[in-house]
Amino acid sequence: MKRDIKGISRDLDDRRNNDIVYKKDKLFKMFNEDPDLKDVLGVLEPKPLNEYLDVDNPTEEELKIRQEIIEYNEKIKHDQIVPFLKLNGLQKEVLNFVMFDVRDDGVDYYNDTMKKQYIEVMCVVHEDDMETEYGIVRTDLLDYIVRDLLCWTNALGFQVVLEEDRPYILDADYYSRRMRFAIKTPNLVNKHMGRNNKYDSFKF
């Protein structure tokens, strides 16, 4: 058997290459496009720019204020929907996050073409920001939105089932709720190739 490794050509931008990449991409879009998730996460709206009295001749004060607003709008840009279970570095402001990842955990006992896959979602909230204007704890409200989006959905291929939903203390400053959704999915890299590796060539 020869394996033509040098001739490998991949389109790394194609999300469908790998089911984990595909599902995480779908989840990321799903969370970002939800109209309420970012609001409950406390994603700050950028400040509107100040108006110049004379558009062609703004004063120094007006330009200074405009620059401060632009800097502020840059500063508040944070990735609060994170596609892995780790916050990078020091979070110096009070921020909340939804983190998620996908893991495969075993194949089916009778049919190893099917595997059990888990989607782990953590809603991480800073202790100073636990209260929402609704009087509902922020972790619970985020939990509701995530479950509303994912529970029993077929958007990721097979049906997603919520298996676990528990509170979790991360450290002195953060609390979270951690959800685990299970999905049974084919254990295949490429559905057209089935249980074969495409680089295995049986030419001699």
Binding site: L49, L90, K92, D129
Partner: protein, 405 residues
């Protein structure tokens, strides 16, 4: 002729035994030569009974600096038999001039005086119980601690001068947990126990009661307004030495919603962006204020809404701007906003508070705010009053708003 009896009578005046006589004589010498010493300073000190007064003192420091501590020991010695409690504020002239800045008068509140110089403000932190010529340890006050505390149901701003000290913190400054990284830094602070020292007289001297500084209170200890450093009180030791409260402070994050960086006050706003302290109002008839609604155009620029919109929509942001005029001249003032319920009177206080909390207010700049009603149908049809005034209460305006879908 001096007789033995005369000599004995003289000695009896000065003391019951020879030791006391010698102490009396040496105190007399100290008193007489006091202002001749090179370390002599005329200090301004706060006495419990007499208020601020001038006092003679000798200023000295430990000759050899210690690398084990964060400061050299400084001492103050008063005339014989003159004592002040630990925790007392004292102004001491430095090498720049012989006086403390208000030598021609005696201000009753030197902290608010225009000649106040923090570089001359010290605090007594220890007493050396020597046999004679008692010396006091003093440290320089280097920070004005400001915080908000609740008294009788009202939030008030407190401030007290004290000293930020170094604390041994054998960490890198951050701590890595399983999923996150947190700040891990401590520092110390010493402040006087004002109620122990002055009791109710502290209000006569315009001091704040330091007993209202408790665990979880937060300060901004920083000169950097671009990246302010915030600390939380985690330990309060007020027993020993009597008169000084020692605080341990752990670094915390800035809360962009609740903390006011311009005023260097933490927890100035509540979660909805409203100022938590009560503002006194006294409307001035010559002052005018105009409250406008504003919209953001397609270029992202905020512009006044000429149609004066009085409607809020759920889950949508509305902007409001105020202008303060005095005799037709635009004033540069900070606006303070407030939302009150103006609907059915048969709702309970908790229900009204809940409805008001559903309107999330955010300060955009000195005179502009945004309001975003929460995404709930409960708000549809409800009416609120949005009011604004300046920090002195000279200007005031209000408008009724109704929430629609």
């Amino acid at each position: 002729m001096i007789t033995l009896d005369m000599y004995q009578s003289m000695l009896n005046v000065k003391g019951k035994n020879l030791s006391q006589v010698r102490q009396y004589n040496s105190a007399m010498v100290m008193n007489t030569t006091f202002i001749g010493d090179i370390g002599y300073k005329r200090v301004y000190i706060l006495d419990k009974n007499e208020g601020w007064r001038y006092e003679d003192a000798k200023y000295s420091k430990h000759a050899t600096p210690s690398i084990l501590k964060d400061a050299v020991d400084y001492y103050l010695q008063f005339r014989p038999r003159i004592h002040y409690p630990v925790g007392t504020y004292v102004f001491i002239p430095n090498d720049e001039d012989y006086e403390i800045g208000f030598e021609d008068y005696e201000p009753t509140d030197p902290f608010k005086d225009e000649n106040f110089d923090v570089n001359k403000l010290w605090m007594i932190v220890g007493k050396n119980d020597a046999n004679e010529f008692v010396r006091y340890n003093i440290i320089k006050c280097n920070w004005n601690f400001r915080w908000i505390a609740r008294i009788n149901g009202e939030n008030k701003i407190f401030n007290i001068w004290g000293s930020v000290r170094n604390a041994n913190s054998y960490t890198s400054g951050v701590w890595d947990a399983d999923y996150s990284t947190a700040l891990d830094n401590v520092t110390n602070a010493w402040i006087p126990d004002t109620y122990l020292l002055y009791e109710d007289d502290l209000y006569n001297y315009n001091l704040c009661d330091s007993r209202y500084l408790r665990h979880e209170h937060r300060f901004m200890l920083t000169h950097n307004k671009l990246d302010p450093k915030v600390y939380t009180v985690t330990k309060v030791q007020d027993l020993v030495p009597q008169g000084i409260i020692k605080l341990t402070l752990k670094q915390d994050e800035l809360d962009e919603v609740r903390d006011n960086v311009d005023l260097m006050l933490c927890n100035y706003y509540n979660g909805s962006g409203e100022i938590v302290t009560k503002q006194e109002s006294h409307i001035d008839d010559t002052a005018r204020s105009y409250l406008w609604s504003a919209i953001v155009d397609e270029d992202g620029i905020l512009q006044r809404n000429r149609t004066q919109d009085k409607v809020l929509h759920i889950a949508k942001i509305s902007y409001f701007n105020v202008e303060f005029f005095l005799k037709n001249k635009l004033q540069d003032l900070n606006a303070e906003w407030r939302i009150d319920y103006n609907g059915e009177s048969d709702l309970s206080d908790e229900e009204i508070e809940h409805l008001c909390n559903l309107l999330v207010m955010r300060q955009i700049d000195k005179t502009t705010i945004s309001i975003k009603p929460a995404k709930t149908n409960k708000l549809i049809g409800e009416k609120f009053i949005l009011s604004v005034q300046d920090s002195n209460g000279d200007y005031a305006s209000s408008v009724e708003l109704e929430v629609q879908k």
